[in-house]
Amino acid sequence: MEWLIQILNSVQYGLLLFLVASGLTLIFGIMGVINLAHGSFYMIGAYLAFSLTQWTGNLWTALPLGIILAAVLGLVLERLLIERLYHRDHLHQVLLTFGLILVFEELRSIIVGDDVHSVVIPAILGGSLPLTENLSYPVYRLFISAVCLALAAAMYLTIQKTRLGMMIRAGASNPEMAQSLGINIRWIHALVFAAGVALAAFAGMIAAPVSSVFPGMGNQVLIVCFVVVVIGGIGSLKGALVASLLIGFADTFGKVLVPELAGVAVYLLMAIVLLFRPAGLFGRG
């Protein structure tokens, strides 16, 4: 039965990872931009959770504020910088967004400092759900999984079933045609980027109570997101979900079964996928 706890942990980690990685893979799939600073948004979200919770008193009020701030940040960034990268080669995108990471890290250091912080779980979600006689599972972790699932479903519905989603998909496959049909591609791109930033930041915010808030968290999550995108295939949300869950399991069970090599488990998984599918499990060739 202890496995049930590890399974729940795997799912929670995987779903959280999906939230962050989905932004990364969408931004690349739709705008063709590889954004190294994506992990920084996760870090910014976590630090926002910390600061705003201190300011407003609880996480519930901090969340919507944080999302709005993150979305605005995303919009501003896209208009000022990211837009100029759409037709540049990947090397320049990598370099510019690497510069962004440095800027974000130092700004955070200046504004909030380099300390590790914790964020208090809201009271309603503070308890544990009993699973068996002896085992119980934290309600908050279930909450994280539930929220991520809901957002994943919302993403799917938006992209597949709404007009907005249709415009996004059109813009992704043929921007010029979409533009000449009257779709405002520039705003679609700004929207997608802002949404990606907000998703990553939101993930950081809800993860903060369980993973604590520390300076290296952005870089850490970025690398794993890259592995998610490589395994899942660029631009594929389905691939990102499958890959995130796979990694969630590999990482969690890796830590339990072989602690010394836990960090390596994820990369071994990536190596195996690469041997057979260099474009990822669901990648478009």
């Binding site: 690349f28 590889i34 190294l36 910088l81 100029r84 540049r88 990947h90 090397l91 320049h92 990598v94 370099l95 510019l96 690497f98 510069g99 962004l100 990471i101 440095l102 800027v103 890290e105 130092e106 700004l107 250091s109 200046i110 870089n219 690398i223 890259f226 592995v227 995108v229 490589v230 660029i234 010394e260 836990a262 960090g263 390596v264 990369y267 990536m270 190596a271 690469l274 041997l275 260099p278 474009a279 990822g280």
Partner: protein, 323 residues
């Protein structure tokens, strides 16, 4: 770049660097030694990125593996044997590059960038999380390697400086020769149009792997020298921040030119020194500087004449009312 210009700039550079210690104090000799070592690192990456079009974001892994090999192979208190430990370290880097390379050359474009980064992280975590080589604390190397010639003592910073200078010049010449050879031309063809190269009959994957291993080995040379110089290694040597930094050096100096790699390294380190005097948050300034460079001067310093010429041409056209 024309051969004559290349040879002249090489000779001029070597001459300047050779006379430098006579005019400078010890601190600056050590600084320039560090810059020369990093130049070797940058040159090795230029082969991959600038000439073959392979944007590797995990190049620091091979730098670090060689450094660690020296640390692990060096005896507890005696100086290590240069002629044994250097080939050993180069072999370790080459082997790591071969294993990782065999997997990553199956990918291209963004995937390649991401997997090179991910595998380098794996190497980083291996050294960071295990106690194989001191974990996050790193390891010390008590004395510099010994070259076995009585007159040369690498523990003397001046001797070490000239050895590094000789190696830098050697790497520069080696790369210049390779790049104009059939192999080098094929790599450049792969960068411009890999599909066409395959359609012509080149087994491009093998060429890319060869370039990857060669670049990794040269990065290992730089790593060995860095470890020998500092007498200390830790996992941060192969953190991906390092890989990002060496890319920044390349774009600062100008990618796809050998001279640019060296100029970029000098520029970056000197900029870093200057920014550090301004604020402890100098990375903020560096980050901003890189962003501006990418947006406005992507050809780097070596390409500055071209960038300015193109700007003034388009400026003139605008003035004259052309579209």
């Amino acid at each position: 770049m024309r051969t004559r210009t290349l040879v002249l700039s090489l000779l001029a550079g070597v001459a300047v660097l050779a006379f430098f210690p006579a005019l400078a104090e010890k601190f600056y000799v050590q600084l320039v030694t560090k810059i020369m070592i990093l130049s070797i690192f940058a040159l090795s990456l230029d082969l991959l990125v600038g000439y073959s079009g392979l944007v590797s974001l995990g190049h620091a892994a091979y730098f670090g593996v060689a450094a660690y090999t020296l640390a692990l192979a060096a005896p507890a208190s005696d100086p290590a044997n240069f002629w044994l430990t250097l080939p050993l370290s180069l072999a370790a880097s080459a082997f790591t590059a071969l294993v990782i390379g065999a997997l990553v050359v199956r990918t291209s474009g963004v995937y390649f960038i991401m997997v090179t980064l991910a595998f380098a992280q794996m190497v980083y975590y291996f050294f960071h999380d295990t106690r194989v080589a001191g974990g996050s604390d790193g390891m010390y190397i008590d004395t510099r390697p010994s070259i076995g010639i009585a007159a040369v003592d690498l523990a003397d910073d001046l001797h070490f400086y000239y050895m590094v200078l000789a190696l830098l010049a050697g790497v520069f010449v080696l790369l210049a020769l390779i790049l104009r050879s059939p192999f080098g031309r094929a790599l450049q063809g792969i960068k411009v149009n890999e599909q066409r190269m395959r359609a012509l009959g080149f087994a491009t994957r093998r060429y890319k792997l060869a370039a990857f291993v060669l670049a990794g080995t040269l990065a290992g040379l730089a790593g060995y020298l860095a470890a020998a110089k500092e007498g200390y290694v830790n996992p941060e040597l192969m953190a991906w921040h390092q890989s990002g930094v060496v890319l920044m050096m390349l774009i600062l100096g100008g990618m796809g030119t050998l001279l640019g790699a060296v100029i970029g390294t000098f520029s970056y380190v000197l900029l870093q020194e200057w920014f550090s005097t301004l604020t402890k948050h100098w990375l903020l300034l560096m980050g901003g500087f890189i962003i501006v460079t990418v947006l406005l001067f992507p050809q780097g310093l070596a390409g500055l004449p071209r960038t300015l010429a193109a700007r003034s041409r388009s400026g003139l056209r605008e003035k004259n009312g052309d579209a």
